[in-house]
Amino acid sequence: MTDAPRSVFPHRHLLGIEGLSPLDIQALLDLADEQVEVSRQVEKRKTTLRGRTQINLFFEASTRTQSSFEIAGKRLGADVMNMQVGSSSVKKGETLIDTAVTLNAMRPDIIVVRHHAAGAVHLLAQKVDCSVVNAGDGAHEHPTQALLDALTIRRNKGRIEGLTVAICGDILHSRVARSNMILLAAMGARVRLVAPSTLIPPGIARLGFETFTSMKEGLKDADIVMMLRLQRERMNGSFVPSVKEYFRFYGLDQEKLSFAKPDALVMHPGPMNRGVEISSDVADGAQSLIREQVEMGVAVRMAVLEALASHLPNR
């Protein structure tokens, strides 16, 4: 296996699924398939990013996404630095742009950014010379999550096209849902959104997505049931009356899962609220792909970093 980047990925940054062509997505998934094999070997180290500096800049706490990007960068040979925003100058009032300019002066090759504000990663990308990967911006996009979900689906179902995917739960606040909706629709899946109306983004039906407020109807004949996390502050009467009520009507348990196809598969981007949006027996059951999603996360992030390698600065 050669470690030289072969991809002709045409983008310098990965800011969202929006803007990627089906071919781009296909290429990333193919590349990710190879990374799965690499990650399963004893020798996991490649040299694609040898000598390169990758900064993980997380303005929002994240264990799984940050460590996934860190492992991916290290397996490709990059020097990875995690910037703890909590202890940085951001806390001292530095603006996002000043932070970007400061980091840029240190000549990194890749910055992986998570930020609580939609559009913040785009803003930062305009101010730096290196490649930027969006690791989640507000309720906007989380492209590597959608790619890892797509990879997981493709490896288990053999295809994405023609599948019925029900995305269920807090769609309103979910960047995972947005990226997945765009990707899955681009790849020819039928995407359904299932949630109480308070958690469905206004006007979304006009974008061509079927919406359901009943799990029974929404899950009927679904191949994939993708659950979303419901934040605690939204389940106490603001968007949803209570945890009990949410679980009763929208939590995925065996009974509701039985409305989907018998071979339907269950996904969740994590971290899960057991007993809120998903029951433990479903989360840990035979139809669950939740642990596999985590493994695919590393592979997809390796693929993304490798695809961007041909565009890195300082060549």
Binding site: G237, F239, S242
Partner: protein
Amino acid sequence: MSNQPILFKNARLIDPTSDREERGSVLVRDGVIQAIGPQVPVAEDTQVIDCGGQVLAPGLIDMRAFIGEPGGPYRETLKSAGEAAAAGGVTTVVSMPDTSPALDDPAVIDFIVRRARDTSMVNIRPAAALTKGLQGAEMAEIGRLKEAGAIAFTDGARPVTNAQVMRRALTYARDFDALIIHHVEDPDLVGQGVMNEGEFASRLGLPGIPREAETVMLERDIRLVRLTGGRYHAAMISCADSAEIVRAAKGKGLPVTCGVSINHLALNENDIGDYRTFLKLSPPLRHEDDRQAVIEALADGTIDVIVSDHNPQDVENKRLPFAEAADGAVGLETLLSAALRLVHSDRISLPRLLRALSTKPAEILGLPGGRLAVGAPADLIVFDPDAPYVLDKRHLKSLSKNTPFDEARLEGQVTITMVAGRVVFQRETM
């Protein structure tokens, strides 16, 4: 529910769904209407009740009554409310959630449903709290409460002032096809007010409540209904401007309905007279022009239903200076008699009046009653629309006697009330 068939004969049958009146009989068995017509064949064991030409109509459905159980059994219990309702011809009562504890928990709704079944002679259908603890901040468990038997969602006598909370509740309720009933009064505009703002309040030296306290809230709600598509019912409107607002909303096809209390149809602010606290109400009694306008709106269908707004208050809460007295009046027993004043003064036909007292509430609440038809539940009343009497509050069945009609001359009295095929009230004079 008895198995013995009962035949009402020699009755003036009024089916408010069709404005049709005819002489005839109604046969009841197993809790439902089996047959209707000029001649109904009957079996041997049938009990026959001769109505003597009196009106036979569907039992009244009252969408708004405050009952003190749980938490205030000295004001009213489910049992005493049931007795009062039966004597007034009300066969279904929607109870408000302003109890202690508030009806915001499925277990409490379940308790009310069971307790009412065991102790009340009429149907009592609880409306659950729209927000937790009636605090107007966090929406209640609409789905679970509906499963437990809640028929609608409302904060009772309290308005939901936070528009965001109302918006989300309307949005969420739509998924469960749940009805939201709202008391339209902006508490900030009510302020310290205790009666209708205007000349009369100024003369009495009492702080007034402007009509805008009602219209501002109503306008807001209707815009939120347009935004969300939720099913919405304004509990009571009291003035001409409100009728105009509802008329316009209905004209746009919005899922909006509204009610009026019997007090606002029968009384005006002048009846407060010498600081009579039994006429201290929320919303307040308005000017005679407003009363005329709401009667008009009732007659043309803008106002869908008439409610008793039955609100029992004990003496301690009413024997106070006007401004310090509690709001509310009892009304279950006088609802029909007071409403018949509109028929006697030729403001509305009897079938139309009964429609607002039975058919429309049934439609709005999704209940099977409110119609005189084969297969409909045998919730029926027989009444003489012309029987004159003077109300003596001591004879009221309600545990509280705060009626605004004490010593009033009324015409029209219920003689028989039947619930689910069982006679639960029969006036002795018959």
